[in-house]
């Protein structure tokens, strides 16, 4: 495994306002890396810094061993970027847009035509290849953006909010396409404020909060760290205090009361039978119990809840 992207103490200030505040990132070849965080947390700015499209106020960036400020053309030759709400030339057809990109990227014309046909087919736009992009839906444009990446055949693809504004069907299609790219050996960096999508395809994620990386690591580790467990058991029961009953019991990480007679229990295994037994033994009345695997959503909500509390305190 070799490191393809590394940043140290990256800072970006906009007229006194700090957009990125000391970001350290290390991304390895072949990873699918997610930048997660609410709007305005500095994901896009970090991406622009990686590509050398904006200048850092401090810190260093190294992409494929190159400095994107000193050697932007080599970096941009080997890295593809799908911007947030990507725009194409509406009056040109899908194919013409890609031809322009291919020329800018310096791909020789014969090869470019072959690759354009191939990439349009991969994103299933071959039927509309000669239609003007002005008539395309949001999902089609986003797929055209993926086609552009396939055409460029980069070592790293950086996608900013690739699924924002897409319906579930298009989101699924796009995630499948991104997954295919990753299986082809491309390193993928993607940003999102939507967690379920990141969870489904990312190996590692970095949680952004106010220009800083709050947490970084493999999805399962984050769940363990933030949630204290991998499962959440929801219990409706009367006549007992579940917190007291479950205190110190094995696999139980945390118990919280949501409402009267309703608790949430974080566990690191499926311990429903044990919980039920404890409730009955304590003379309580068990009305309902359900379990689900913790999702990154829970991590996210919990993490930012805590960050907000720390902020408020």
């Amino acid at each position: 495994m070799s490191v393809v992207i590394e940043t140290k103490g990256l800072v970006k200030r906009y007229r006194g306002h700090v957009a990125v505040n000391g970001v350290d990132l290390t991304i390895e070849r072949g990873e699918v890396f997610g930048l997660l965080g609410p709007n305005g947390s500095g994901k896009t700015t970090t991406i622009l810094l990686l590509l050398g499209l904006t200048e850092p106020s401090g810190g260093t960036v190294s992409v494929l061993g190159l400095n994107p400020l000193r050697d932007p053309l080599s970096v941009k030759q080997r890295v593809a970027f799908l911007p947030d709400q990507v725009g194409f030339y509406d009056q040109l057809t899908a194919r013409e847009n890609l031809v322009y990109t291919a020329r800018l990227a310096g791909i020789e014309s014969g090869m470019a035509h072959r690759r354009i046909d191939e990439s349009l087919a991969r994103v299933r736009l071959e039927a509309v290849a000669d239609r003007r992009v002005g008539t395309f839906s949001r999902g089609m444009r986003q797929r055209l953006g993926i086609a552009e990446i396939i055409l460029k055949q980069p070592e790293i693809a950086i996608l900013d909010e690739p699924t924002s504004g897409l319906d579930p069907q298009s989101t699924h299609e796009l995630l499948t396409l991104i997954g295919d790219l990753a299986r082809g050996g491309m390193t993928i960096v993607l940003s999102s404020h939507l967690l379920d999508m990141v969870q489904s395809i990312c190996n590692r994620v970095a949680l952004f909060n106010r220009g800083k990386i709050g947490l970084c690591g493999p999805v399962e580790t984050l769940m363990g760290d933030v949630m204290g467990g991998t499962h959440t058991v929801e219990v409706d029961a009367a006549g007992i205090d579940l917190k007291e009953i479950l205190a110190g019991k094995p696999h139980v990480m945390r118990v919280r009361q949501d409402r009267q007679n309703n608790w949430r229990v974080d566990t690191d295994a499926d311990v429903r039978p044990e919980i039920a037994r404890h409730i009955i033994a304590a003379g309580g009345e068990l009305r309902r119990m359900s379990i689900r695997q913790t999702s990154l959503d829970d991590v996210y909500v919990r993490y930012f809840e805590e960050a907000a509390n720390v902020q408020a305190a």
Partner: protein
Amino acid sequence: MFRQREGSPFRGLAVVALKEAADHMTSMRVHLVMLLILLTALGSVYAAIGQIKETVGEDAFLFLRLFTTAREPLPSFVAFLGFLLPLVAIALGFDSINGEYNRRTLPRVLSQPIYRDALLTGKFVGGLIIIGMCLLVLWLLMTGLGILLLGLPPSGEEVLRGIAYLFAAFAYAGVWLAVALLFSTLFRTPATSALATLTVWLLMTVFWSMLAPLLAGVLAPIDPLDPMTAVHQVEVQQAIARISPNVLYGEMTLGLLHPETRTFGLLFPSQVSQALMGAPLPVSQSLMLIWPQLSSMIAAFLVLFTIAYVSFQRQEIRP
């Protein structure tokens, strides 16, 4: 910004320029302006030919008169171009950079292995290609019509002067393209940049010749006891007037297409169409005469382009 960078700043320039030119060729807006120019050109040439047939008997530069003869109520061909070329340039340039921002294509294009330099210069060159083609077509059309209707081919010297005029008009349009491009980097909304450019155009075309005497009166008041102050004021007025590219263009056409012109003295563009008396200068002398005008035009163009360049380099890539 002036940090050492690897790779050529011109990489991708030709690609951008050709795409830009192709876009203009298929753009409705450009079609309309071209149609306007073509119609006015035909109209003015037709009128000029009528006038020439009626009035001029013996003239060594009959062919050049095609360009400069006006017949009421129509102005001459060169006066028309002086008015319309800026409009063509503005139509080509006013939304070049902010258009990319608004279409959200800028991050995608600049994430390809090219510098911003190539994008800006490419857009500029693309516009110049279109202007050049437009001028060439007009010029050939004029020549063809002249030969057909006047029944007389232009002399070698006339062709030379015609080509020099073509180049002067090209530089003039280039300045306006640079103005439009500059405003398209300074303003994010195309409507604003179009309005700003048109305002400058109106100021320079219509109001500048009225403002110049006023400003000169303030800057160099006339002392009734000293007649030299009157001359001085006229000089100041002329210097101020020459800030306007239109005035420079007027002087260049005068010098090139009226071979008798020896000095620009106290002339203004409204007098361009009136022939002067005296023996014609050789082409080389006429070129010397307009050289300062041409070089100031090119200098203005370079300054405008540099400002646009610096402002574009500093801009954030996000809209």
